[in-house]
Every structure is written in C-alpha cells, then in structure tokens.
Symmetry: C2
Subunit: 336 residues, 2 copies
Amino acid sequence: MIGIDDVAASLGVSTATVSRALRGLPGVSEETRARVTTAAAALGYVPSSAARGLATGRTMAMGVLVPAINRWYFSAVLDGVDRRLRAAGYDLIVFSLGGSGANRERVFHRSILRKRIDALLVMCMHLTEEERLALQELEYPSISVGGALEGVRHVGIDDARAAADAVEYLISLGHTRIAHMRGGGSFDIDFEVPRLREQAFRRTMQLHGLAVREEWSAFGDFRFTTARVAALTLLADPTDRPTAVFCSSDEMAFGVLRAAAELGIDVPGELSVIGIDDHEFAEPMGLTTIRQDPEDQGAFAADLLLGELTRGAAADYPPSRPHALVERASTGRIGS
Amino acid sequence: MIGIDDVAASLGVSTATVSRALRGLPGVSEETRARVTTAAAALGYVPSSAARGLATGRTMAMGVLVPAINRWYFSAVLDGVDRRLRAAGYDLIVFSLGGSGANRERVFHRSILRKRIDALLVMCMHLTEEERLALQELEYPSISVGGALEGVRHVGIDDARAAADAVEYLISLGHTRIAHMRGGGSFDIDFEVPRLREQAFRRTMQLHGLAVREEWSAFGDFRFTTARVAALTLLADPTDRPTAVFCSSDEMAFGVLRAAAELGIDVPGELSVIGIDDHEFAEPMGLTTIRQDPEDQGAFAADLLLGELTRGAAADYPPSRPHALVERASTGRIGS
DNA sequence: ATGAAAGCGCTAACAC
DNA sequence: GTGTTAGCGCTTTCAT
C-alpha cells in the first residue's frame, strides 16, 4: 500500500505539500503541484478514506435506510440518490432492513450511529419509537423520503392530494361504484403512505356523496400477485361489482388488469382502472395513473442533504414533490 | 463525540481494556467486561469506523458495482448480497454507474481502489480493458455476478444451457417457427449474457435442423417497452409469423404477451411465449419461464467473498448456479 | 511556498 | 487481567 509519504519522499517534499497539492488547496506553486500530481499518478497513490476520515471527521459517504432494495419505488429512489452522490464525490451505503428484526439493532448502532456516514436518508421505514428518537439525536443531517417520519424532514408527493386526484378523475368520468385496492401492511414498511391514500379515497368519495363499501376496500399489499388475487374476488360477481378501481400503486393496478383479463372483463369498457406511480410498465400497458418520479425525489433529497453538508444550514424547500395525472387506455367514461 | 477514552476514564481503566471488553476479546474479567459494557451503553459510546479502519486495515464494508439499481435482476442480487453482509456485520456500498461515463473514473479511483471496501462484487458490468486490469490488481478479493468477466471469478447460471433448455422446450412442444427476443446493447451493461443466450438459441435451432430467420431475431433490450414494440412488428403478419417466441428475459416476455393481446393473438393457442428469470410477475401472468434466483446468486457470491475475508483462502465452488424450467400457461403444444 | 509536528480515535504489541 | 505506548495515514495549525 503506497501512502502519502511515499509520494512525498519520491519528490523530496513534505507530506503536507503533497496533501495540499492533491486536494487543490492554495499555497502550492503550480510547478510543485504538477510534479506531485504526476508522481502520485505514477506511483498509483490513492489516499486512504479511513485516514482522511479520521483526520477530517468526514466520511464522504451517505447512508440510505430502506425496507428492501428490490421494489420499484425504493430502487428508483436509490438510483436518484446515487446519481447525485456520485456527482458530489460521495459514496452510497445502503442499509436494507428487509424483515430481519434481529439485525436492526446492529444496523442502528454499528452503522447509522457510527460516524460511518455524514448524512442519512430514511425511506418509507417504519421505525420504533426508540429508533425515531435516536435518529433525531443524530449529529448529522437526516431526511425521510416517501413516507413522513415525525420529527424528520420529508421529501415526497402529497399523497392525500394524489389519491384524491385519482378518485376524482374516476368520478369525473361518471363512476360511482368505485373500489380501492389498498397497499401497506408489510413488515417494516411505512404504513403512513397507504393510510393517507385510503383516507383520501374515503374522504373524496364522501365529498361527492358516494358510498364506500367495505368489501370494496381490498388489500393488495402494493403488489401484483396479492392484488390480482384480491381483484379476482372483488370482480367475481358480474351483477354486483365496481365499475372502477382506484389502485394505490401501479403494480396493484397491473394485478387488477390481469384479473379482469382472466375474468373476461373489458377494460375500459366494463371496468376502469387507475394507479399511482407511473411504473415503467404503465405506458406499454396503457395504464392511466398518477405519475410520481421517485428518482427525482431521491435526487432532491440527496441534494438537500449535500447542501446542508456543504453550506452548513438546512435549506427551505416546497412541502411536496409534484405528481400528475396521466390519461391512458385503462379508464373510460361510464357506460361508453 | 464521545470516544473510547471517555469510557475508559469514566471507569478508571485503560482504553485497551475497554477495547478488549467491547470486542469480546479474551483477557478481560467478566466483571470488568460487564462494567465496561454498561458504562459504554450509558455514555452512548459508539466506536468510530474510520479510526478502527485505520488501525486494523479493514473497513467492514463491501462494494458492489452495478450498471443500475432499479432493474429487476440487479436489485434482487443486491438484496441477496445485503442480507448476507448484514448478517456478517458488513456494510454495503453501492456504486451505480448508470450511464455517466464521466464519473466512472472517479468511482474507480476514489472508491474502488481507495481502501474503502474490503471486497468487491461486480455485477453485469461492461468494463474497459484498463478497468478490468485495475480490478485484477486489486489487493482485496473480487467476484463477478451475472456476467462473466475475464480474469475474475464468476457466479451465475449457465446461460447457454438455460437458453437452450427454453428453446428445446418449445421444440418439444412441436414448434418449428421460433423467434428470439434478444436482450443486451444498453450502455455499460454487460453484453456477454445476451450474446450467450443468442448463440444458444441459434445452436439449438440448428441442432434440430430448424431455420433461424434473421427478422425473427428481434431486439428487446431486456425491457418490456422495447420488446412490446419489437413484437408488434414481429407478430404483425397473421399469414407468416412465429408460433413461439423465446425471450431472453421475462420483462421482454411480458412485452410480447402484451403485443399479442393487442393484436388479438391467443396465447398459448396461436402463440407460445417463454422467458428467462421467473420475475415476480411471471407467476400471476402465467408465464412459462426458466427460473433463476438472483437473490441466491448475490448471497452466494457475498458468502464466497466473506469466506475469503475470514478464512483467508478462496474456496472452491460449482461453476454455475441452478436454473429450472417452470411450466405455466403461456406455452402450449403446437396446433392444440 | 513549504516543512515540522501534533493530533484524529482506535488497535495491538509488549510490559507488568 | 490490565496498562502503556506506538503506530494506522492522513490533515492542519504553526513556523519558517
């Protein structure tokens, strides 16, 4: 392992000069800087991040806490975060808490709190009271994405508004028999988002004087498979079934679409389906949906954190990220 | 920031004792250990990973280099890796190289080579010659997952065999007019895997005396959208179209399925479709496919690396991870 | 513009 | 069983 003093020795200068030269600090003649740069490259010198971290107190790494990596929303946010971090020269440390209750403690104490990262982004995690408090006492900046966390800044869409927009769109098409395919419930995953959307669904229905039938509030767990099964039941009776389904995620909407196809129900002729997300498959599937942009959300949150790290103070920002209705072929006017 | 000597001072013992006690090393009386543990917890002491890293030369972190995070295969492998890493007390640092050519250099030099990680896992990345050589000269263990890399150990399925199995299955059903929906081509992503599968397709066809029509080797880029568009062309002519499509990924198979539905082609009556992956959506979609298990592959590779880190030497392991045909409703005997 | 030297917070010999 | 001390490889005053 070749270190900074090897470079210094090879040139007959001090380590301080090498350090300054390589980091572009002033106080080094251009000639010296050039020589140092060349020598460092020639020797294949690469500074040790541990040593630098110890000396500066900064790790140049940011942590992201997620319930799982392989879900559409989470991985998309991660991509957005990563893009920004890389540009800023930061590394991305991912803590996935998928199910394993036993390891949570470890993650929290060993990594989150351990000065291994300069900032933390928490994504849609359901934390225990104790964990939440630990977060708030962190000495580095933190933020939550996708699901709000009490006492922590938040980046995400206005879930209530987004859900209401979806339901109102269905109503504007003349639908009155509207079902909701709900998400949430899975271990560790935040339950604020599904709750907000469910509430908004009910409130919007109520606002328009429409009845909410309890058996039409189906549980799809944000997933294709679960939603398909639930929809198979929901849509089973041709004489008494909803004419529209509002799905709290696109994946669930795909499940409903699939179930409809299996049951020979024409979409959008006999059934309208709307989702939330604008998943990669939504456009080719012709799914009407409320678009959100997780990559943008991740990038935005990362920027906020990075800004705070550099500029010192936390910046102000709008309360929510945008969402928008995208009309496609899965919804239609009632009776057309 | 409370450090090890604060704990030591609070107890009137030496830092060495605290260090030993907290790490469970021998040479500490159980009584002392208990007192230290208590005091550390009370003070909220958390060791600095930078300091420990500097002193031990180990970072307790593993790096994973991926072309992108938000693709089914990549994120699933990541989840598998993460699970094992967490159990071993290691952190996961993700380097996503999504498109940004400018940042590759940075990633390589700043992070990969910078003693920030104890081991590296490279996933399906297409590396330049120079990068490959840099990898091989790394002083820590490395491995590739999903796409082989010259000079680096590899974990993944036998792609040629998997593709051949899929094609042979179609042939066993009586199909002779078989098309291939190919993957690959995207920036940065490994092109070995798509090539192996394409070759296997052609060889298997040939082996059975079947003709490969060039216009029936369509490019789907491993994605739903691209594959759907390609399939719309591929299947356009009712008088001259394939009776079966072998898709190099499930996502592309979904695209073909979608195109078939749009064109009013009955599956499996008029068209059989088979994929590779066993994507989460494959079962609910009734897609016949060759299953592989990316989580297992990630976990397996992580274990290999971790084992090497602890036991010192590299372990032997079978040349490929398993794959298996899963028969579902998207394939059928010709003319039935 | 450059150098000397004192840490950063821990681990690991080596003493006792 | 426990303490002392010398690093680990950088950054950062403070001199010059």
